[in-house]
């Protein structure tokens, strides 16, 4: 088929389309879904028993804020990457990774310090917190995939990694709100590292879930 014939076919196929919302507005919609998931997760798994006093813990509040920042920055970047030419600065995609990186670095430093003191604790303590991250992350992840598929992502893997990162951060926030364990090793292994695992799923699934949707070989 030559280009003129292709143009004829495309013209014959044109229909009115509903424009996508702006990436920031789509991210706000996603955020609403994620917050409902978090609320549902906390209701299901239970609120941590020190919830009334934990708000005065700077580390807990700082971690929470960084997780919210990770969620927001990750999905805004993902939805921008799913619109051709909308990503203004390439480094913007690194901001959510940096936010989570700060959380991981602080926790790793605390784990090392605790290990030097000889009270790092058991790595297998309360392994089930990983379920909270996975179960609560599923709904926002599915919504992120659906929203990305409705657009056109030139870089499917990157886009899905960011969508999954935001979803994993929602799961981690749930774990933070429902698990009363303060041990840095536990928080690092079973609240935060699963977020990295969920994001890594984006690399594995990016081509399968997104590439075909955008019509690429």
């Amino acid at each position: 088929m030559n280009t003129d014939q292709l143009i004829e076919r495309l013209v014959a196929d044109v229909r009115p389309v509903r424009r996508l919302l702006d990436p920031t507005e789509r991210a706000a919609l996603w955020m609403a879904v994620a917050l409902v998931s978090i609320a549902g997760g906390v209701a299901y798994f239970g609120v941590r028993r020190d919830i009334a006093t934990i708000w005065f813990d700077v580390e807990f509040v700082g971690r929470g804020l960084l997780l919210v920042a990770t969620m927001w920055l990750a999905v805004v970047s993902a939805f921008r990457m799913a619109v051709p030419g909308a990503e203004r600065r390439a480094f913007a995609r690194w901001w959510p990774i940096a936010a989570l990186g700060v959380v991981l670095a602080v926790l790793a430093a605390e784990v090392i310090a605790a290990a030097i003191m000889g009270n790092a604790g058991s790595p297998l303590r309360a392994v089930h917190c990983i379920q909270k991250v996975a179960l609560v992350g599923v709904v926002p992840a599915v919504v992120a995939v659906v929203l990305v598929r409705r657009a056109w992502a030139a870089e499917p893997k990157w886009t899905l990694v960011l969508g999954m990162l935001g979803s994993g951060a929602a799961g981690a926030l749930t774990a933070e709100l429902s698990c009363p364990i303060h041990a840095p090793l536990h928080i690092l292994l079973w609240h935060m590292l699963p977020v990295v695992g969920v994001a890594a799923l984006g690399v594995v699934l990016g081509n399968a879930l997104i590439r075909r949707a955008v019509g690429r070989p």
Partner: protein
Amino acid sequence: MTPEQERQATGWMTSAQQGDARAYEALLMLLARDARGFVGRRVGFADWGEDVVQEALLTVHRALRTYDPQRPFGPWFYAIVNSRLVDALRARRRQTSREVVDDEVVATHAAEAPSPAAQHLQDRLAEAVACLPRVQREVVSLLKYEELSVRDVASRLGMTEGAVKATAHRGYKVLRRLVGETGEHRPTY
């Protein structure tokens, strides 16, 4: 695409999103011509260039709903063409790495096509330019492929001349790293 064409394309695109077939046809004709120029300036004569143009048009069709008339049309369209060109160059690289060179075919076509080494370098350079961050890519493309002056590029992209020079410098540095600087294949940017 000139600023006038861009305004025209934005209007046609807005109508096409409402299902206007005539506006859509005019838009696709313009885009086909523009994509052909975009690809041709980067990879020269290439028998697969028209495939990239067609892929770009198909993608415009699929991505119709993602265009927001509040945003400039050029970056939206060139991001699509650029992405399609990168895909084609990567596919071509995979293919050529598996190909066995036929000396007779090479000799027959030697007079009309660039040497394999020159074509290879041109492809690598095009792929490297396509992989630059958006602003660097636009600055380098306008300076080197469209041959605009620094002042024209600055006015087209809404940047200062100093910022254009600095961005171009950073882009060239990345290109040198990506393409390499070996002997006679040293790029002349």
